[in-house]
């Protein structure tokens, strides 16, 4: 009576009470809609009534040449969008962080803020500002290129199938480069001075120090940034929608999964929305992201070496 049997701790009610608000809110606004979407994907509207069709919608998405062509196009574009971010945004972010963390740099706070500010701007502002900058009619880009004698390099990038997607990816990089910079900067600052001093005693300075000491120590942070980029890119939608519209022109060259989902789910112009096919696409997007994150969590993160200071 006096005590519970050993090894079986008493039920701690306060844990449940403290968790409840977060669990409730998260369940109502995240988990329930997620399963609602997955469920919606298994139904189809037949004569106005929702009918269970199993994986029928997925068969249409991958089997029907029209649907599958749009889907693979969107996925390929999305992958390219992600590759540009990984190749451009993250290395630049790391380089900026490395520069910022140099003790001899002056005006550090100014640079840090200036580079980070675009991140807090709305997509709509970024989209329209860049659209205006690059506009062949009113934009400053043609004039500036002309001033340095490089006018021949100018093209209406956002209107050309070959360049539009890359241009948009670079705009997105411009906007978000502040995030990897900040995270890496924080990671670099947390490296104890003792280690760096020891390295200097061993004659490792400058670039060698960055490659051999700092980079391995911030590798976990780079991993986190990569996965954030991955999730962010495969959920992207706003920038394309504000600059190119829901039809993701020219000729679907900038169509990514988010715009494809939007067009299908909500409809566009005369095309009525199809929530079931939309949910199917959303489910596939969820699976893609889930797979990517799982590969990272189980395949990469567990192998990253961590250092305790």
């Amino acid at each position: 009576m006096s005590s519970a049997p050993k090894g079986k701790p008493a039920f701690r009610l306060h844990i449940a009470v403290f968790l409840a608000p977060a669990v409730l809110v998260y369940t109502t606004i995240m988990i329930v809609p997620l399963f609602g979407t997955l469920q919606l994907a298994l139904f189809r509207s037949v004569d106005g009534a929702q009918t269970f069709v199993g994986l029928g919608n997925f068969e249409v998405l991958f089997g029907d040449p029209r649907w599958s062509q749009s889907f693979w196009n969107a996925l390929a574009n999305n992958t390219w969008f992600f590759i540009i971010h990984m190749l451009v945004q993250n290395p630049i972010g790391i380089a900026l962080a490395a520069l910022l963390s140099r003790p001899s740099l002056r005006l550090r706070g100014f640079y840090r803020t200036a580079i980070f500010i675009p991140t807090i701007l709305s997509f709509v502002i970024v989209g329209f500002v860049w659209k205006l900058i690059l506009s062949p009619v009113w934009g400053v880009a043609p004039g500036m290129l002309d001033a340095v004698g490089l006018k021949f390099l100018f093209a209406p990038w956002l209107g050309k199938e070959a360049y539009a997607l890359t241009t948009l990816a670079l705009i997105s990089v411009w906007q978000f480069v502040g995030i990897p910079m900040m995270l890496i900067y924080a990671a670099l600052l947390s490296i104890p001075d003792e280690i760096l001093e020891a390295a200097e005693c061993d004659g490792i300075t400058g670039f060698a120090q960055f490659w051999k000491i700092k980079l391995p120590l911030v590798l976990p942070a780079i991993g986190i940034i990569s996965i954030l980029t991955f999730v962010g890119n495969f959920n992207a939608f706003d920038l394309i929608y504000t600059t190119q519209g829901a039809l993701a022109g020219p000729n679907f060259a900038t169509d990514i999964l988010g715009t494809f989902l939007y067009r299908t789910f909500f409809g566009f112009q005369l095309q009525l929305g199809d929530p079931n096919m939309g949910a199917t696409i959303a489910s596939v997007m969820f699976l893609i992201i889930l797979t990517g994150v799982s590969i990272y969590l189980f395949g990469i993160q567990t192998r990253l070496r961590r250092y305790q200071f």
């Binding site: 009619v137 209406p156 050309k160």
Partner: protein, 419 residues
């Protein structure tokens, strides 16, 4: 004598209002609409004019943002909280509301007889038997041009296609003006002001449009490919970097006087009147050979219907009859130059540019945009595909023949008469 006349008038007015009051004792009608922009016109002009004639009926105009209108209206109708009168989008969106029982049939509404079959086509069941909205306005396509530029270069208004391209060549050779202001960034300009603007001359308006719906013609037929071939020639006359030029860009280029010709819809008129400080004129889409019958796209755009669940149905019908009257047509058309009344009653417009546009109804055969009725019901959606195809053709990244073949294949994949 005068006093008698006045008395008679008063008596008549009382009688009319008594009739009005008999069925509509202080009914309040609420109008659902997406036309935010028209709020002042309704409040200051239209509603007072109606209320003066129908004492006892109060009208409230309650618009929603255009992009949210369809969704907001649907949920209001589902929850029975929608207004009495519903502004109708053309074609399938409204047909769906009628099929779901949200819009009352208007077959026996007197005023509905004031409209031609083309005017009613956007708000009628597929078999053409039951209209469910009273047409309010349409928009007409054509070309608006800069008169000063034409005078300066000594160009007369082109009547035929050859004259049209000759004029474009002349403007281009001169170099002062961009021959034509249009971009492909937003895609719909190429389809709506391009393909649907010049197309009716090729497919002979209603004749071709109906033949496409019945399956007698295909999009790969000469009549449907030829407009794309003409459109492909436009590329050379558009401004530098037109690929990334947006719709507002095109409007501004024209109103700033930098371009000579603007492929237009009549809805531009009021905006252009306010912006441009040169004289503007308009011409009909040029025909192939002089003397050919001309066809114009006189596209039905906006109508008004009665909520089937409205408790004030009688008052609502009175309002709809008034919308069908010449008085409404003239008030509306003059308040909104460029949105033309569809009523068969003749209307005089004060705006010269708008008068020019509406005068074409007498010279040419009217039709509506080919992709709007029935043909955009499936997936792939013909209208959206047409945007994409037209933009591709103008940019030169797809040939007219390939684009037509692709559209036909898409249409045939779900539309039975075309299979």
């Amino acid at each position: 004598m005068k006093a008698t006349a006045l008395k008679g008038l008063l008596l008549a007015a009382t009688a009319i209002s008594a009739v009005g009051a008999a069925y509509a004792q202080d009914a309040t009608l609420t109008i659902e609409s997406w036309r935010n922009d028209d709020l002042t016109i309704w409040q200051d002009t239209l509603i007072p004019a109606f209320e003066a004639k129908h004492p006892g009926i109060k009208v409230t105009f309650s618009p929603t943002a255009p992009a949210e209108y369809n969704a907001a209206l649907n949920s209001k109708l589902e929850s029975a909280s929608a207004g009495d009168l519903i502004t109708c989008r053309p074609f399938d969106a409204s047909l769906a509301l009628f099929d779901a029982g949200h819009l009352a049939p208007l077959t026996d509404l007197e005023g509905i007889n004031n409209f031609s079959p083309v005017a009613k086509s956007a708000w009628i069941t597929d078999d053409g038997s039951t209209p469910f909205c009273v047409p309010m306005a349409s928009v007409i396509h054509g070309f608006i041009y800069n008169k000063d530029a034409f005078d300066e270069l000594g160009i007369s208004v082109p009547q035929t296609e050859d004259e049209f391209f000759a004029a474009l060549d002349k403007i281009k050779a001169d170099g002062t003006y961009i021959p034509m202001a249009m971009g492909t960034n937003d895609q719909w300009e190429a389809a709506t002001m391009g393909y649907q603007n010049i197309g009716p001359n090729y497919w002979k308006g209603e004749e071709g449009r109906n033949a496409l719906i019945s399956g007698d013609q295909k999009l790969t037929d000469e009549a449907w490919v030829a407009p794309y071939q003409t459109l492909a020639r436009w590329k050379d006359y558009l401004g530098d970097g037109f690929e990334a030029q947006t719709y507002p860009d095109s409007q501004n280029i024209f109103t700033l006087g930098r371009a000579a010709i603007y492929p237009a819809g009549s809805w531009e008129i009021s905006g252009f009147n306010a912006q441009a400080d040169f004289e503007m004129g308009a011409f009909i889409p040029p025909v192939k050979a002089a003397g050919d019958t001309c066809y114009i796209s006189d596209h039905t755009d906006i109508a008004i219907g009665l909520n089937a669940a409205s408790p004030n149905a009688e008052a609502g019908r009175a309002f709809l009859n008034w919308v069908a009257s010449a008085e409404f047509a003239s008030l509306y058309a003059n308040a909104l130059p460029g949105f033309f009344p569809l009523s068969s009653e003749p209307v005089e417009l004060e705006d010269p540019l708008a008068q020019e546009f509406i005068s074409w109804r007498g010279k040419c055969e009217s039709t509506i945009r080919s992709t709007y009725q029935i043909l955009s019901r499936g997936t792939p959606n013909l209208e959206n595909e047409t945007w994409n195809a037209s933009a591709n053709v103008v940019r030169g990244s797809e040939t007219p023949e390939a684009a037509s073949a692709r559209l036909q294949e898409g249409l045939a994949s779900w539309y039975k008469p075309q299979m």
